[in-house]
Symmetry: C2
C-alpha cells in the first residue's frame, strides 16, 4: 500500500477542465459563491463523480460530495476537501486544487480496491471565501451556523437569498446540514500556501500547526479640527498625525517583538477630509493575527498600550472599538502526525507552518480531528497570478492520499 | 484729527444685529454665499446705509457698498471692507467684523465732516469663503475672474447658477464688475486673526506682512496588494505604511527646518480599503504654505525629495500629482506703514504677522496698494466658537479708521 500513488494525468486533466469554468482569461477564475459560474463548476464536479461511477451526495448547505462507502453503514466518515468558489476575479488554485486532490485520492482508493473501515468523502464546501457568509458549508456541517448569522451576512442578506434560491437551499436546510459529531472520523485539507515560505525554503509540504486567530479593532483618534493655514504646527491636535505615528510605530513593534504575528492597517478615514483642515478625527481599521490565544492577548495588549501612549503625545484622545475576530485554531496532532508519516513514506521534505488565512479546516476542527497541508505557491493570494508547479500539486495529492489511509485505519 | 474715534456703541449695536442674521444659536452663523441668510444680511447692510443717509451701491458681482464721495468726482476710491458670507455653520466674526468696522470708520469720517481727497467705500465682497467660487467679489473688482473659472467653480456650477439667480447677477455682470486700476487708491481690511499668536503675545494689532502662498499636491504611493494573513510583514510593499511614514517624517521636517511654513495632510485614501488586504495604493492629499515664493520652492523641493526617499524604503513607487495653488502675496509697504502709524497714534501695540489664510486682500493686492490687520481672537477659525473681545474689536476699527485717513492723504 506504500506504493499507492494518485493518477497524475487524470488529476491534471480534471484540474484543467475545472479551471476553464469561470475563467477570466488571465489565468484566474471568477466563481463567487453560488454564482452561475460557481454552480457550473459544481455541476462539472457532480457529472465527473457520476461518470466515474461513484456516489454523489449533496446536503442542505449545498455542499457537493463524492462518497466511497465502507462495508459497515454505521462507520464514521473521513472527510477530505476544500471549496470550488473563488473570490471575485481570483486564482484557479485556491480551493479548487484541494477539491480535485481529495477526489483524486478517493478515486485512487476505489481503483485500488482497498476496503477501509471508514467512509471516505471528498467534499466541496459552499462559500468558503465569504462572498456571502464565509465558511458557510463547513460551519454548517460542524453545526456552527446560526439563524442570526444568516440574517445579516457580510455579503448582504439579499445576495445570500438570491444565491440560496439559485442553489435550491434555504436557511432551514443549511442549519439542518449539521452532522453528528460521532459520524466524523476527521477532516483533511490540501491548499496552496498563498505565501512565500515553502518556495523560499525549497520545501515540498507545509504541515499546518495552527490557523492563526484574527482580531479586528477600529481605533478612533479624536483631536481638533483647525484651519491648516492659521494654526501653527505646534498648536495642533492632529488626529491624522497621531494615526500615522501609530501605524509606523505599531508596525515596527510587531516586526521587532511579535515575529510570529502580523498586523495590517487596511482602512483609514480622516474627517472632515479637506486639504485645508487639520484632521480632527481619524478612524483606523486595524487587523492583527497570532498563532495562539495567548499570543493574541499579548499582541492586543501591546498594540492598545502603544495607541494610548501615542494619543497624548499629540493631545489626541484614542477610542477603541472592538470588531471581534476568530480564535486561533490548532490543527489536531493526529492529523499532523498522519501528514508527517505520509511525507516520510513519499520521501517529501516538510515543515510545520502557521496558516495566516482562514480555511474550512477551522470550522471542522471544533467537531473532529482536522488538519491541513500547504503546497508551495507563488503569486500571492486571491489573485489570477497565484500559481503552483504541477509536480508540487502531485506531491500534495499523494501526501493527502497517504495521510487519509493512515487516518482511516 | 488724531483724537477722532469710532462710535463704540453704534459699532457694537450693528455688529450684534448682523450676528442675529443666520444665527445658529450657538454663537455662530450660517450664511453661505448668496444663500437666503447671506442675502438677508446684505439687505440689512443696505437698509442700514440708507437709514444713515449714505449712498448705497452694488455692482455686477453683487458686492454691496456704502460710499462717501469726495468733492472731485474723478478722485480715486479708497476701499475698506471684507465679507458678510460665512462658511457652513461658521463664526460671527469672520468677515462680518471687517465689514462693520469699515462701515463704522466711514460713518465716523462723515460725522466728523472731514473732506478727503478720495472717495471712501466700505464694501462687502461676494463669496470670499468659496462656497461657490472663492474671493468672487474681490477678484471681480480686480478684473481677475474668467469665464472658465465661472464655468467650473469649486462649489459646482448648478449651485453657482442658483446663487447668481437669487442675487440677480450673471456671468457677464460679474466679469463687467472689474474696475479701472487707476480708480483704486488702495484697499484696507480688518479681520480676526483666527490663530493664537496675538492673544498668546498680549499684542493689540497684527499688521499682516504677507498672505502666505499655498500649494496642494496629491502623492500617490503604489505598492502591492497582498493577503494580510499570508504575507509576512517583511515581504510586503505596503503603500499605507509608506504614506504614514511620510506624514510623520514630513511633519517633523517642516517643524524643524521650515518654522515659517506649515504642511497639512487632510485627506488620505487607501485601496482596496479592506481590513485583511495590505494596501496596494495610498493617495495622500498634501497642502503646504510658505510666506514667499522662494520659501515655497524650497519647501516643495524638500517635501518631494523626502517622498522619493521614503518610497524605495518600502519598495513603493511614488507618483506626484500637482493640484496648483496660490502665490504668496506681500502686503503693500504703504499700507503696513499706515497701520503702524495708526497704532502709534492710538497707543496700541503691534507686530508683523503672516496670514496663513486667504483673504480679499489677496485679490486687491494685484491692482492697488492693499494691506490688512488682525485683531486678537480665540476659538480658531470657521467655528461658532471663534471669538474676539469687544475692546480688541474697537481697537481694530480705530486702527482701520486712522490708517484710512493716512492713506487718503
Amino acid at each position: 500500500m506504500h506504493e499507492l500513488r494518485i493518477d497524475e494525468r487524470r488529476f491534471r486533466r480534471d484540474f484543467n477542465e475545472l479551471a476553464e469554468i469561470g475563467s477570466t482569461g488571465d489565468g484566474g477564475v471568477h466563481r463567487p459563491s453560488l454564482s452561475a459560474e460557481h454552480l457550473e463548476a459544481r455541476r462539472w464536479f457532480r457529472e465527473r463523480i457520476e461518470r466515474d461511477g461513484l456516489e454523489f451526495r449533496t446536503d442542505g448547505a449545498g455542499n457537493h460530495s463524492a462518497v466511497l462507502s465502507a462495508a459497515q453503514p454505521a462507520a464514521p466518515t473521513l472527510l477530505m476537501g476544500s471549496h470550488l468558489d473563488s473570490v471575485l476575479h481570483g486564482g484557479r488554485f485556491d480551493g479548487a486544487l484541494g477539491v480535485v486532490a481529495a477526489y483524486e485520492a478517493l478515486r485512487t482508493v476505489r481503483d485500488a480496491g482497498l476496503e477501509l473501515p471508514v467512509h471516505i468523502e471528498a467534499i466541496d464546501f459552499t462559500d468558503e471565501e465569504g462572498t456571502l457568509v464565509g465558511l458557510l458549508g463547513s460551519l454548517a456541517v460542524a453545526g456552527a451556523i446560526t439563524r442570526e448569522g444568516l440574517a445579516s451576512p457580510r455579503g448582504g442578506r439579499e445576495e445570500l437569498e438570491q444565491g440560496m434560491c439559485r442553489a435550491g437551499i434555504t436557511d432551514e436546510s443549511i442549519i439542518a446540514a449539521a452532522r453528528a459529531t460521532e459520524s466524523l472520523a476527521g477532516f483533511l485539507e490540501l491548499h496552496i500556501e498563498q505565501g512565500p515560505r515553502l518556495v523560499d525554503g525549497g520545501i515540498d509540504i507545509g504541515i499546518v500547526s495552527a490557523i492563526v486567530g484574527m482580531t479586528s479593532i477600529d481605533l478612533v483618534f479624536v483631536g481638533r479640527e483647525d484651519h491648516a493655514g492659521t494654526t501653527p504646527m505646534g498648536a495642533r491636535r492632529d488626529a491624522g498625525l497621531a494615526a500615522a505615528t501609530f501605524i509606523t510605530e505599531a508596525t515596527a513593534r510587531v516586526r521587532r517583538e511579535f515575529a510570529d504575528c502580523v498586523v495590517n492597517f487596511g482602512r483609514v478615514e480622516l474627517a472632515p477630509g479637506a486639504y485645508n483642515i487639520v484632521p480632527g478625527r481619524a478612524e483606523l481599521g486595524m487587523e492583527f493575527r497570532a498563532p495562539s490565544e495567548e499570543r493574541m492577548s499579548e499582541l492586543e495588549a501591546s498594540l492598545l498600550e502603544l495607541a494610548r501612549a501615542i494619543g497624548p503625545r499629540h493631545e489626541v484622545q484614542v477610542n477603541v472599538r472592538p470588531l471581534g475576530g476568530i480564535a486561533a485554531t490548532p490543527c489536531a496532532d493526529v492529523c499532523r502526525a498522519a501528514f508527517a508519516e505520509a511525507c516520510g513514506t513519499l520521501g517529501l521534505s516538510h515543515t510545520a507552518l502557521l496558516s495566516g488565512a482562514g480555511h474550512d479546516t477551522m470550522a471542522l476542527a471544533h467537531v473532529c480531528p482536522a488538519g491541513m497541508i500547504f503546497v508551495p505557491s507563488t503569486g500571492g493570494s486571491h489573485s489570477p497570478r497565484e500559481h503552483a508547479e504541477w509536480p508540487a500539486c502531485v506531491n500534495g495529492a499523494n501526501a493527502l492520499l497517504h495521510a487519509a489511509l493512515r487516518m482511516a485505519r
